[in-house]
Point group: C2
DNA sequence: TAGTGGTCTAGACCACTTC
DNA sequence: AAGTGGTCTAGACCACTAG
């Protein structure tokens, strides 16, 4: 509950950690950001279940002692970051992170012909090892830390498509390599490790297939593959996952929208 | 000037063409969209020059007979679409389409090491021809229409980086192939042809270099290249440019942000 | 100090969904 | 008809910029 009763500003909140996407050098934290963060905290803690209907704008505004307009702006940011889904006439729902929606948010590979489906996954191997220099830099870890590495093959419509090597700090994801891993890892991160990835950055290159990768993908060594090096980030901008993918693009492609 | 005096809605505006990014099946056009479109029209017509300071929110709202809040929302969309730049304490400026900003909006290739610079361009060839099937589909043209084709080599820091083949409907860009072409084509489209590209869609694949492309890029035939097939769209969602790029990714990479 | 955009409020009405 | 999010207004104050 925000310590506010009136349109005055809460000075104690100004010094709050501000590592959000718009972190400004001098701390000024608008009320709607405080409201947003409070709501994120409650959602991640599980105060409402995925798919559950939230109280109305009016109600939420009343219980947090802010105006409807301010609550509206906070909910707008939550929708933008895919924490909630809003439907006129119906209400505001906690987003399910296992829906087709995520396909377009984090999975940017589609078949050249036919509809875009969500890919299957087959685990090839899991292990832990010391972080290498690249891991340490992208995940902002100490070089001596350990990481879990998950290798899996993803297929769309029974056609092998992508080899993923997923690198996770053991400190954030203890013993994840021993688990039975679902197709949608981001949902697992959130439900079992309290880590919510809301955005990611990717670097793409064209490379030639190694014999190992070629074999798994059903292509010859030396065939061109698309290499995708992704870092997954939390709402606070903290890097928590590195994912290196090799994608065959003879019958698939990567798509992007620039705006 | 919008025909409104009071909070009532303007029925004549409802039937207005709505091909915007959020086109809904049944026409309901919020006031701030009408305001936005009116402002876009004036900007494209050149009522204010690039870089020029616009009147304040209050003034604009008064002259268009809407509240400041509505004007604010319209200006917010203009900022999101990069028509204007807003600075607290300074004002709202018409965006220059030749600034570093556009580098991050439409140019997603950067050197692996060192800072991201804007690339030089060297025209390799220009010509016109009949649209092929792919052109006709992506640009929504009749198959018999003519297109202009511009081939150019782009370099970053004197290192060849990308070969671009730019395909434009002759109907929209008459005689463009005869012109002296600047580095920033999108600015030319806007100033000389009244066509403003606000967003684009790209399809990426890994391919092997042809001897022609390899030679221009200083690589061997058979080296892996990143192929980028882009469609440029106006604010109304109309496709107006196709651009097929071959990018060397041994020392450069393509970057994307997912959110 | 004046002017700008940014935030916040309070309250009204509209469009959409469900009963 | 009731309840939701979406739009719109009117007015206040705050933070930032510049003379």
């Amino acid at each position: 509950m925000l310590k506010r009763g009136r349109p005055q500003r809460d000075p104690s909140a100004r010094s709050a950690a501000d590592a959000g996407e718009d972190a400004s050098p001098v701390g000024f934290r608008p009320l709607y950001r405080q409201v947003r963060d409070a709501l994120i905290k409650r959602i991640v803690e599980g105060a409402w279940q995925p798919g559950e209907l939230l109280p109305s704008e009016h109600e939420l505004a009343a219980t947090m002692n802010v105006s409807q307009g301010t609550m509206r702006k906070a909910l707008g940011e939550l929708e933008r970051d895919n924490f909630v889904i809003r439907r006129q006439g119906k209400g505001t729902f906690v987003a399910r992170h296992d829906e087709a929606r995520i396909l377009f948010q984090f999975f940017r590979v589609a078949p050249d012909e036919g509809d875009s489906e969500f890919p299957d996954s087959r685990i090839v191997s899991t292990a832990t090892r010391l972080a290498n220099d690249e891991d340490a830099v992208t995940l902002k870890m100490r070089p001596t830390s350990r990481v879990a590495v998950i290798e899996r093959l993803r297929s769309i419509g029974n056609r092998p498509c992508i080899i993923e090597r997923i690198i996770l700090p053991c400190s954030l994801f203890p013993r994840i390599e021993k688990r039975r891993l679902p197709n949608n890892l981001y949902q697992l991160y959130r439900s079992d490790f309290g880590v919510t990835i809301v955005r990611a950055k990717e670097k793409l290159k064209a490379v030639l297939a190694t014999s190992h990768d070629g074999q798994l993908l059903g292509m010859k060594a030396g065939a061109p593959l698309l290499s995708i090096d992704r870092v997954g980030l939390t709402a606070e901008g903290r890097p928590v996952e590195r994912r290196v993918s090799m994608c065959r693009t003879d019958i698939f492609h990567y798509f992007a929208e620039l705006k």
